[in-house]
């Protein structure tokens, strides 16, 4: 019924079934996307909340597991030698017990083993031992008296050629139900956290505005047609297209305060500065205006400049595209009325660009807030440039406290949500 309807482009009667089929097809086509996005983006996002409430260190990721070492000693020389088959078992974790520990092994041919431990049983060549619970750091040693036969020596096989198989259930720190608020307590209690939050905001606001303003200027430069414009446009996109590691290290070298730093050498040669400026390593320079003491944050300004430098191409591209879609008639009419170039820019171009500038501000603001690579590579978060994102890394991997790192990540996400709400509340509706 449904198929005939579809084939004949049926009347509205069959539309219900047809629509159902269509939406089923649509969901099927979207399924792979849903799966991967759920698994790699939304799942981890929720998992991050989970981890932030858990007392988990980096080392805990290696779950407790039983480890065994198997040996036949001393080394048998001739048939009839009496030796010892030895298993040494150990719980790798010093914190967690392992339950239901068992050992299964296939013994080599041609040896006669005497079992002297009632936890073990031998069925033919198959050895099976059940140790029950192995406490934290506990060790177990089994020593079976063994007589070696000729068949063993002939086979040239070794006892350890078949690896013993171990089983055991250790509590997985990720899936257990122990929770704590210590992570959040720790990060909110430290003075540093509020500095980090402030630095994040400065970096985001000034980095975003810087990139937008530079982009606006660059777009003005390239808005008129001239020879070589496409070359320049390509060139202006370089900072954005090149890998972050390449440009970040180039900047580090350029701004180096030690011998070999290009910019410092240049400034000193031209007599602009006396000594080298530590662009990326100096926290602040004090200065006074009308008797008021201020501090100029050097390293933070440098990373903000880098951010503006690296991302102005993106806003430049969008603004240029928007400017070229403004009809030239308006400018011609304004020209007739005697409007000067600056007046034209102020009254014609800028109002037309407000929409794209707002969208760009929103996007860049969020992306700059999310940015980790740039600061991490330039300063590693030193000298007053530690933002929230760098703090996530520091807590989780430098201090090795995954839980605290996840807690900072939760803060990152929460701040982001607040921004998003503010933006959607106050942004004009037509700027999708």
């Amino acid at each position: 019924m449904e198929t005939t309807m579809a084939d004949t482009h049926g009347p509205p009667k069959g539309a219900g079934a047809l629509a159902k089929r269509e939406s089923r097809l649509a969901y099927l086509m979207l399924l792979p996307t849903f799966v991967i996005v759920l698994g790699i983006v939304l799942g981890p996002l929720l998992a991050n909340f989970w981890i932030s409430f858990k007392p988990i260190e980096l080392a805990d990721l290696r779950a407790a597991a039983p480890v065994v070492n198997e040996q036949l000693r001393p080394r048998p020389e001739a048939a009839g030698d009496a030796v010892i088959l030895r298993y040494r078992l150990r719980n790798s974790s010093r914190k967690d017990a392992i339950e239901g520990v068992t050992l299964t092994d296939t013994l080599p041919e041609g040896i006669a083993v005497t079992l002297n431990d009632d936890r073990c049983a031998l069925d033919g060549r198959a050895l099976f031992c059940d140790f029950g619970t192995l406490g934290a750091g506990e060790r177990v040693e089994l020593q079976f008296p063994t007589v070696v036969g000729q068949a063993y020596l002939d086979a040239g096989e070794r006892a350890r050629d078949s690896d013993p198989v171990l089983t055991g259930d250790a509590p997985n720190v990720l899936t257990s139900f122990t929770f704590t608020l210590d992570n959040f307590r720790r990060i909110f209690a430290s003075d540093e956290f509020w500095t980090v939050l402030k630095v994040s905001l400065y970096y985001t606001i000034f980095g975003t505005v810087g990139a937008l303003v530079l982009g606006l200027f660059a777009a003005q430069l390239l808005n008129t047609a001239f020879k070589g414009r496409n070359v320049l446009r390509g060139l202006f996109l370089f900072p954005y297209v090149a890998p972050v590691i390449a440009v970040a290290f180039a900047w580090v070298l350029l701004l180096d305060a030690g011998p070999g730093g290009t910019l410092n050498a240049l400034f000193q040669r031209m007599g602009l500065t006396d000594g080298p400026i530590n662009f990326l390593g100096q926290r602040a320079v004090p200065f006074t205006v009308f008797g008021m003491a201020f501090e100029f944050p050097v390293a933070l300004t440098t990373v903000i400049a880098f951010e503006a430098w690296r991302y102005f191409p993106l806003s430049f591209l969008f603004i240029l595209a928007r400017m070229q879609s403004i009809s030239s008639e308006m400018y011609e009419a304004a020209e007739m009325d005697g409007a000067t170039p600056l007046q034209q820019f102020w009254s014609i171009s800028l109002p037309q660009l407000v929409g794209i500038l707002a969208v760009l501000f929103l996007l860049r603001f969020i992306w700059t807030f999310n940015k980790f690579d740039d600061i991490f590579l330039l300063t590693g978060g030193a000298a007053g440039t530690r933002t929230l994102t760098v703090d996530v890394y520091e807590q989780a991997f430098a201090v090795s406290n995954l839980g605290a790192g996840a807690a900072v990540a939760v803060v990152v996400f929460a701040v982001l949500l607040v921004f998003a709400l503010i933006f959607f509340r106050f942004s004009p509706q037509d700027d999708g």
Binding site: P32, T33, I56, A242, L253, A265, M270
Partner: protein
């Protein structure tokens, strides 16, 4: 009077700017320790500005411009007592001569461009603003170009130098071509022989290409469904898919690190090939669905009428029409995967598995000389820049298509 004053200021500005730029270039190229006399250049430029303004409009020919340039050079020589770049003339005379000619020519041409149509007469607000904007634009070109190019220039030149010569004179980027290619490119050769950069390059290429294909395989059907099929939640999806792109990678890193560690996926390229597509699919889907919407639906309907299946229509009708969009998306995704740093840095421990990003970071230690670090940066940059320049049209289209609409 304002015209004369503006011409003086414009001339002074150009004189000073070109002195800084040309003096800088002279230092970088020749390695000589110059001290560009910016003040004197400013003065020479101001004189040149006034002189050109005083030249009658009809007399402003090419020959006159050349003469004017010669005048600029002469004035600078006089003002600096025959040391135009703060150097005695005997030091690197050839480079100094070229630099002087370049300086004079640039000042003369810049001024001629800015003052075109102006003379010593009242200019009004309109005229003043046009002149001001010309000067500002000119300066903008110079400043933007220098600021964009300088880090890349330092990167390439440093990779060709040796540690000692860098430390003894950090401004000397002159390249000694007489030493032969093997010595000149020593850092690069060592990277590929001793530092496994061949492996890194292959790993990066593999991960990037796989990411592109997986992304396309996932995003094409999804984008088609969102663009063409009606289903509950369609409008919501087409709007909210980009929100995924707003989720910070750093928030995902800890859970993914923990789970991938336990699943044995962490220190593998497979792990990266799962994570990268997941982060690029939402953008790719968004970009593609926008393009699919713009394609005429009649062609697809005709295909369906002719007995093609949905998959057949997508494969035979939609995709060939959407080739430019596919190219844009592929390039964009390739670029993201190639340049990705965070996950590569967190996930990869084994040298055999390093991507270029991870490999270059491992060069950032005090034991590895700087030219190796910069050579590594060049190796990571060149493929993606070449690809970008080759397909710039597509990439720019892709970058803007995503969000310029609306």
């Amino acid at each position: 009077m304002t015209a004369l004053l503006t011409a003086l200021v414009a001339g002074g500005l150009w004189g000073a700017v070109w002195m800084v730029v040309v003096g800088l270039l002279l230092m970088l190229v020749s390695g000589a320790v110059a001290a560009p006399p910016v003040g004197m250049a400013l003065l020479a430029g101001a004189v040149a500005g006034a002189a050109w303004l005083a030249t009658p409009r009809e007399a402003r020919t090419r020959a006159r411009l050349a003469l004017h340039g010669a005048g600029v050079a002469l004035v600078l020589m006089l003002l600096t007592f025959a040391a135009p770049f703060g150097l005695p003339l005997e030091a690197v005379p050839l480079q100094q001569g070229v630099a002087l000619v370049v300086f004079a020519a640039f000042v003369a041409v810049s001024l001629a461009r800015c003052l075109d149509g102006y003379a010593i007469e009242p200019m009004g607000r309109y005229g003043f603003e046009v002149l001001l904007l010309r000067v500002l634009k000119g300066l903008g070109f110079v400043v933007f170009t220098i600021v964009v190019v300088l880090p890349f220039y330092v990167m390439v030149m440093t990779s060709l130098k040796s540690q000692q010569s860098l430390l003894s004179n950090p401004l000397d980027f002159s390249v000694d071509l007489s030493q032969g290619a093997a010595s000149l490119f020593r850092s690069y050769i060592e990277l590929f022989t001793d530092f496994h950069f061949g492996t890194f390059l292959m790993n990066t290429a593999l991960v990037s290409v796989v990411t592109v294909f997986v992304t396309l395989a996932f995003a094409i059907p999804g984008a088609y469904a969102v663009a063409r099929l009606k289903f509950p939640g369609q409008a919501f999806l087409s709007r909210s898919i980009l929100l995924i792109y707003m989720v910070p990678a750093i928030v995902l890193v800890i859970p993914l690190y923990a789970v991938f560690s336990q699943m044995g996926l962490r220190n593998t390229l497979t792990g990266l090939m799962i994570v990268y597509p997941a982060t690029t699919i939402p953008v790719a889907l968004y970009m593609l669905q926008g393009y699919f919407r713009g394609l005429p639906a009649e062609l697809e309907e005709a295909g369906l009428m002719d007995g093609l299946s949905r998959a057949g229509v997508i494969w035979k009708v939609t995709l060939p029409l959407a080739l430019p969009a596919l190219a844009s998306v592929s390039l964009y995704v390739f670029m993201i995967a190639w340049n990705e740093f965070l996950f590569a840095f967190m996930f990869l421990d084994d040298l055999d598995l390093f991507t270029l990003s991870r490999g270059v970071v491992s060069l950032n230690s005090s034991e590895v000389p700087r030219q190796h670090l910069m050579a590594g940066a060049v190796v990571a940059t060149v493929p993606v820049l070449v690809l970008f320049l080759w397909f710039e049209r597509f990439l720019v289209g892709g970058l803007t298509a995503g969000s310029v609409k609306g």
